[in-house]
Amino acid sequence: MRRASSLRGLPGLLALAVLPTAVLVVLFVVPVAGMLGRGVVVDGRPDLGGVLEVLGRPRVHRVLWFTVWSSGLATIVAVLLGVPAAFVAHRLRFPGRSLVRLLLLVPFVLPTVVVGVAFRQLVGEGGPLGGLGLDGSAAAIVAGLVFFNVSVVVRGVGAAWAGLDPRPAQAAAALGASPRQVLTTVTLPALRPAIVSSASVVFLFCATAFGIVLTLGGLRYSSVETEIYLLTTQLLDLRAAAALSLLQIASVVALLLVAARARPADATGRGSDAPRLRPRRIVAADVPALVVTAAVLTLVVAPLAMLVIGSLRVDGAWSLAAYRALDTTGGGNALVVPVTTAVQISLRTAVDATWMALLLGLLVSVAVTRRSRGRAERRVRTVLDGLFMLPLGVSAVTLGFGLLITLSRPPLDLRDSPLLVPLAQALVALPLVVRTLAPLLGGIDDRQRQAAASMGADPVRAWLSVELPVIARPLLAVAGLAFAVSLGEFGATSFLARDARPTLPVVIVRLLGRPGGLNYEMALAASVVLAATTALVMLAIERLRVPAGVL
């Protein structure tokens, strides 16, 4: 057993964490600190009074309150809709299950601008739902946030649900518990870590949403993120922008602490040899969950349908002209490369971003979930865990701007490196990877590792036989998610992409902003291609999975 300690303790922890930490420092800490420094430090001295003055402004209070309630409400709705949908998509067997899963994921990868256009065609004055008067309302913002984020809940909770040890539920049922009692007393408590994880990720996504608030809110609502954008790019009031960014960081830290408390301290999860729950057929008791899932699908499909229809309508008639134009550079040569080339660039970038996110995510997850010996080590792990969640909750504007002003000069002259965009995208996907893998690794009974070690397995061998089987399937799932995130990523990419190598979302936004020819229809067609490409990749990944029961 002593032999296993080579990977233990602080040195082992640091060895695992060194690569991810280096990436995080270069692509996140340095740029954000650069922006904060310019805002907070006046004449070489930190001006905290100035920061406090900003936080006391009534406008800031309004902005903050809107951010909190809209994100909170969107998170609650996303969880209420997402958990039943996760059950249906991952626990039930019915024809078209893969399609349902795919549809539930697609929104997550669409660039905000495209979703904004799709939503506005739906609820705008001329749209089928125009009569509801939702355009430019807070309700539209919340609906948009839910549209984007419900897939996070479905994926996160669904993966955990599929991996649940069925025996406690079976035991409870055998002891006479009703299905409802089993759900509330056994299943939901077991899923709590996954639900809390997903909800905190969703809240952070909502609180830093930018395009949705502006596009669907008609500029009537300001969130912390849109305010940072206004302050940074239009007003160049870096002090106020830094104050708000600091507030974001403080909120992320607070939220992570709350989420960590909500997770059970002593999770005794399933071992690698526990039987796996098989998807089962639909029974009458599933009707409520099916109804909710149908509602979610409607929410997801309606805007997507508007995209598809829009891409097929040219001059008032049905036509494939917009799709045929995808191998051109658009009306008035709006693009530097044809859309088809951008698709290839996007796929290549996504491959790189995916393996980077998985590699970094695995290292971080392993580092933060090993049982700590001693308080110092535990503290380092907690800090590490939080550090890698920070990118979720920190302004993309602050980060993007920070990247612009720090990465272009030695010693970090990465601006022209082909690795920069995939690395930045990997960093965006990293928290999703960690939040998926860490709870599973943390749930493994440490006695299994000790048993493996006592039977002579070295740490790597022990890891392969104990941990890997537990996370192999979720790893594939999260690989697909990382791939999808990379395909759809626009925030960081728009700051960093090189002109000659634009990704698909960059090209779509460019087409939307250029009049002439079929540019608008091409933008919609390209969005459909983006959604379809993502769906195909996801489908391939799902198909790769071995049939249930073998794992």
Binding site: L219, L464, D499
Partner: protein, 360 residues
Amino acid sequence: MTRARPTSLTTLAAGLLALSALAGCSLGGPGTEEASGSDGAAPTKVVLVTHDSFSLPKALIAQFEKDTGYDLQVRSSGDAGTLTSQLVLNADDPVADVAYGVDNTFGSRALQAQVFTPVDVTEPAGAAAYDLPGDDAHALRPVDQGNVCVNVDDTWFAAKGLTPPRTFDDLLDPRYRGLLVTPGATTSSPGLAFLLATIARYGEDGWQDYWRRLLANGTKVVSGWSDAYEVDFTQGGGKGRRPIVVSYDSSPAFTVDGKGGTTTSALLDTCFQQVEYVGALRGAANEAGAKAVVAWLQSPEVQAALPESMYVFPVAEGTALPKDWARFAKQPASPASVAPERIAEQRDTWLRQWSDLVGS
């Protein structure tokens, strides 16, 4: 239990392999060109930083590289505001050699931060008319110009038998209630130009009252130009419901009906002129290269390519316009203007006041 599970491992490996195979090679793929000659000998590259609307024909860029021997590296991100903020933040240690895209609403801010340094380049005839007022050292050279104007859908008004509006005052008329859509001043550059046009027309004391009444008359404010024009405007790609939109003087050239006419027109009494500038950055690594780029952007070839590449008018006199532009893109004789230094002083206040008006 100590036995590794070959099935899951192989699956995992196969999955990752297939993923990589999906996109052929990765790590940037082909064309990961890398040419740099930074220090020491004569620089071989010149770095142009610009906004994300920048676009010029490849052939022109190739010709520039052939003529000068420089490798032109273009770094574009964000709008004119993002560009200016970026330049100001790096004023003492520029990350590029030359910048294009700072306009007359942001020019003063860049000049105050001493971002630019004058270069000795002979300007084309007619360009001087667009020089930035207050730029005494002539550090900023005009490249292109265009106007933000209210546009109307003439076919919509003809079908309704309604006379289209002509002036700012007309937009307050109840007959045009709920017909105007505009991009926001805080989130889009045409939106800001429209706000400045109303400030020029109604004065610093009167514009807020005008906007209150404009909003009360059912004006819709949206995030960006593509939201306003493509989604809400009746002649946009999404066939919206509003026949009056804030767009550009060149927009009518893009709504030709194929029968010798255009379906929209710009209201020339509602225009605000935008001029975009190029300037060499103070402290640039490649000063000669920066100068070459300034001269290039003012050259007859680039000037002639501007309308079709970036939807703006050239500043050089006598530059031929594309056919549709010559016929349908009318420019106002005397567009509104606000002194650049006044914009620099008041922008924050105006944007905050405007934002509060729209948000209430």
